[in-house]
Symmetry: C2
Subunit: 657 residues, 2 copies
């Protein structure tokens, strides 16, 4: 059954404590600051030419009585503003910016005016259907939207110390605590889209107000119980959908409401909802010590990570329902792998690391981050992938559009349903939160990203200055600064992609085997200012194969080096990538490409092209000979795909057996 | 530009002239007679328990004023009755059956009563929307339904000499000739679903009434002209769909109405419509000598046969629109390959053979017949495939249902949209028509199916008695009976699946190379009664590969022997067929299986299973070694798949390179 929840659970490290200074990540964080967040502000204000209309800011102005007009957009359009504010908050933590803060403050003033006397805040229902609020939790995302605003309120307060948005979201949460529950007159239900659960725990941790934790737990406990809340709600509403008054079809698995959460064995249904739910479950487990919730989290983690996750850290193999399908079913071309789902998986991993430091969580966090998440955004910060395929043929995406209309071979401008871009922004702007955690006397280093962190170990202030050469080389160096000598453990993750690691302290090697616990090398000693710890990880090019039950990858291999998964693109290798074959013993050489995507390392491979001699016009032949023509294949990091002309791409290539 | 249409075009051989007596085909033809047609009669009378309701016969009774009630079923439900009658007619040709004929006569009486004074005959519009007839040709299949009744009328007259149904369908056609045309007050359009075109040519050939040919040609010429008839019709109707009054979206490619038919370069849109259209175009080209139509037929034939056809003779690679997708796009798992589409392809091939005898048409006819068509029906005659996949994993069909809900891993009972079962019945019941054609002094033998045919060569009556060991062995023997010695040519098709053929006359070998024209060995000589011609075709197991641009089959091989395409099934080879690998030089042995599907020949192959040593629970591994474990793989004929427990199936298997 595994360990129980330790009272001295690992503590997260707040963004305030970390200053990232990293050759690889500075670009992305600066991009978020300089381009993404300003661009998104323009987008949600409908000022980006050619982009889909958003309406998000204007909806708040209308609900606040400051503008006339109709609500525009999705029923959860408010969340684009909330996620933007949350990203702004994270940016302000690491660099105060009076002008940006003023824009945010003004937006918060408008939000305040849009809030109803009860605390209710949702521009869709306020403008369009005030009488219908809280009548269709199944479909209308009211608690989901509330959750995002709560996260923004917490983040903005932590960044600026300003209480205005925090007070607004406390009133939202107070209202929720009145409206929901098992008492007469309350709604004994939960939202179709999980999110408020994790947000309420953040609000609890920030305000100390325990009812926020209780209502979060209530939503989690209630989910999937019989009789079904969604059915009861539909009974009350008359079984119509919100959208067109047709009969609603309730697929409880889509909503993870088919069973109580503690009884769920596998991840099913809408992938983002699954991982947001699990993040909330881990939060509640951590704050309440609820062992059965932790066990459910572990079980579903295992199911995702060992049966339903793409090598890129993508999840959700099915466009229909943006959903998980079933174990080992990982189609590379019709894949969903929504950017937001990988971000949610990182949220979940981050929380599991607080419950029980174990490199398996951090390994997946790193995998999703270095592959799907940054593949999701272009280097110009203005184009995004919602869906992250592992195999693309543009003419298939375009010509067989019923099965492929979700797969785009090039990054798109701002979408109508713009969940992914602001989610990328808020994750990257808060990346510092994901790097470390502290449990008792141990400092865990989960991600190898350069920068400075300040931690309190009891009364002692510790400063660690990390220098990392990731993802290109496997060297990490920590410089220790302490007010006074202190005994603590530095726990360095030994990533799943390196089979050989060296740890040195002040140049002297440690025997790792003796000090490895749950995938971390634990260097427990007395430290003084000036001490230097070094981690040297071998970073060979690896041939990765999939579990034999993954039908789509049988006979195929992918290349990975360090945390980066590689792919082949038509720009380097010509079209018809299905003809590429990699021998098991071919030479794989790492080389630099200074031009592509800001500079990166490519892998050059001796490969073959499967060709058939003298093929004419016939579709099928019996008299042909297969020929393998030697070719030089070039693999580039997956995150850098689709930065040249539109063309084919594939992560998995055939292997010669 | 190829040859022009010969005035002495090849003549079809009518069903009356052929008596099939064949070890392989007797079973299917008897099945149609003893089971399929009686079962279908029960089905269209709603007397099959557990099957979907049909309503087809009852609709006629209601329209005839013999029953009360509402129309039930699809707008083209009448065609199930028409196709059933057509199949009955073919059965009566080869074996009179007074009881069956009485049932058909009674049905025809009802049909006569359902016909309107104008000649209009369509139970949907007569019962439900009499005022709306001929207002939505785009969607409502009125001419399509008329076409099937016309085919039935012609067939029943030819079988029985009874004119009643023929007179009914002449009145239908007379009405059509009044309603459609370019004169004021006429409808200057054509049907969304082609079928009436080929039916009207049959009616012309049977009655000699030239206006039926003219109106058929009118529909063909009009199709795809600008301005679009479908747009004009929608303008008149107010742009609603027939089904729910939503706005109609007209995809002209779906209807092959994107360009005039003579300008179409590739097969696009709904596959059945394409091949029915092409059959009609070939008919009109034949009857009118229209060279530009013939050229369009050839061009589209080439496109289908050399770029868009599955190895099984299946066509239509896309479920969305039951349609062609694009050149070389032949997914094996999400495939459509509707049984009816392959039947339509046979109709088209049959007509091309009349225009220009060339084995490429007969090869495809044979391929579709021996693979997709007979795979479409179970050995009990009561279960059918509508969709014929080349790769099936039941859990994928069931678990990823948005992309796979059209693919069934087991044959289904009678469907609501029951186009395929009666189409199989009418094709198999009339199989004799497809075997021979006569052009000038040459008798072409297209299909190697045992039985007797009587032909007139000028004044001379020729009887050929064919003995065939197909599809299991490559020996065919013809015994000639003549009233008097006669000089004529016997043209024997040299199939694309045999690279070595021997022709003997009275035991003496012919040098084939000298007498081969367009894929036929032409034995031109004076024949007398008692002469015996023999064809001996090598029938090795062949490794078939696909054109290198077929992405889905790269690195894969299929086995074929004679006309039969083979496949692997889970029942013989265990699950996880993706792990099977066939070396290029492995021994392939033919063996008999007397039990499966009435007895057949299997191919036993020395193969390997791609296994990965000591794989644990991890989803991805970098430290694994691929291992090839020798296994005995068993391939069975594709037509016999899905006759055991539900399981995986695949036509294409990986090839070791």
């Amino acid at each position: 059954m595994g360990q129980t929840i330790s009272k001295d659970k690992a503590k997260p490290v707040s963004l305030k404590q970390v200053q990232i200074q990293d050759d690889f990540w500075n670009y992305y964080i600066n991009l978020v600051r300089d381009v993404v967040v300003p661009y998104q502000w323009e987008a949600i204000n409908d000022r980006v030419e050619g982009a889909e209309r958003s309406g998000a800011v204007n909806n708040f102005k209308i609900a606040a009585g400051l503008e006339k007009g109709d609500f525009y957009g999705f029923v959860f359009q408010d969340t684009d503003v909330a996620k933007w504010l949350e990203a702004v908050a994270y940016l302000l933590v690491t660099k105060r910016d009076a002008a940006l803060e003023q824009v945010a403050d003004d937006m918060i003033d408008i939000i305040g005016k849009a809030q109803q006397p009860s605390g209710y805040l949702n521009t869709y229902f306020t403008i369009k259907e005030p009488e219908a609020k809280w009548t269709n939790l199944t479909e209308c995302h009211e608690l989901y939207s509330a959750g995002h605003m709560i996260e923004a309120g917490v983040a903005y307060y932590q960044a600026t110390g300003k209480r205005k948005l925090l007070d607004i979201v406390c009133r939202i949460a107070d209202d929720i605590a009145v409206v929901f529950g098992d008492a007469p007159g309350q709604i004994a239900g939960y939202d179709g889209h999980q999110e408020v659960e994790l947000a309420l725990v953040k609000l609890y941790e920030t305000t100390g107000e325990r009812k926020y934790l209780e209502i979060s737990r209530y939503f989690i406990d209630k989910r999937g119980q019989q009789p079904s809340f969604f059915v009861e709600e539909a009974d009350r509403r008359g079984w119509t959908t919100h959208w067109n008054k047709n009969k609603i079809h309730i697929d409880h698995e889509y909503f993870q409401a088919h069973k109580p959460v503690r009884e769920q064995e596998a991840a099913v249904g809408h992938a983002v909802r699954v991982v947001y739910m699990l993040a909330g479950m881990a939060d509640v487990a951590r704050e309440t010590g609820d062992q059965s919730l932790l066990e459910a989290c572990r079980r579903l983690w295992d199911n995702i990570a060992s049966k339903q996750m793409y090598i890129t850290g993508g999840i959700g193999s099915m466009a229909h329902g943006e959903a998980f399908s079933f174990d080992y079913d990982l189609p590379n071309d019709t894949v969903y792998s929504e950017t937001c789902a990988s971000i949610g998986l990182i949220f979940f991993a981050h929380r599991m690391l607080q419950l029980e430091p174990n490199s398996r969580y951090a390994d997946v966090m790193e995998r999703a981050l270095y592959n799907t998440v940054i593949a999701g955004m272009s280097r110009d910060g203005r184009h995004f992938f919602y869906v992250n395929p592992l195999e693309v043929t543009p003419e298939v995406c375009e010509g067989r559009n019923k099965n492929f209309n979700h797969v785009k071979p090039v990054r798109q401008e701002w979408f109508g349903c713009a969940c992914c871009p602001p989610n990328i922004a808020r994750l990257l702007a808060s990346l510092g939160e994901y790097m470390y955690s502290v449990k008792e006397n141990t400092v865990y280093s989960h991600l190898y990203i350069g920068g400075q962190v300040e931690l309190m170990l009891g009364e002692t202030k510790l400063q660690l200055n990390q220098h990392s050469s990731m993802p290109w080389e496997g060297k990490v160096r920590y410089e220790v600064t302490l007010q006074q000598p202190a005994t603590f453990a530095l726990a360095l993750r030994l990533p799943d992609w390196s089979s050989k690691a060296e740890v040195l302290v002040n140049g002297k090697a440690y025997t790792i085997a003796n000090v490895t616990v749950d995938g971390y090398a634990i260097i427990d000693r007395q430290w003084i200012t000036g001490d230097v710890a070094e981690l040297v990880l071998e970073m060979p090019v690896m041939r990765v194969r999939s579990h034999p039950l993954v039908k789509q990858n049988a006979g195929k291999v992918a290349l990975q080096r360090g945390p980066l998964v590689y792919c082949v693109e038509e720009a380097d290798n010509g079209p018809q990538l299905q003809q590429l074959i990699l021998p098991q013993d071919s030479k794989l050489e790492v080389a630099s490409d200074e031009q592509l995507a800001g500079g990166l390392k490519v892998i050059n491979a001796e490969a073959f092209r499967l060709e058939i001699e003298e093929w004419g016009t016939q579709l099928y032949r019996t008299d042909s000979n297969i020929k393998l023509n030697p070719v030089d294949a070039t693999f580039i990091p997956y995150y850098a795909w689709a930065n040249r002309d539109k063309g084919e791409m594939s992560v998995w290539v055939k292997e010669r057996v």
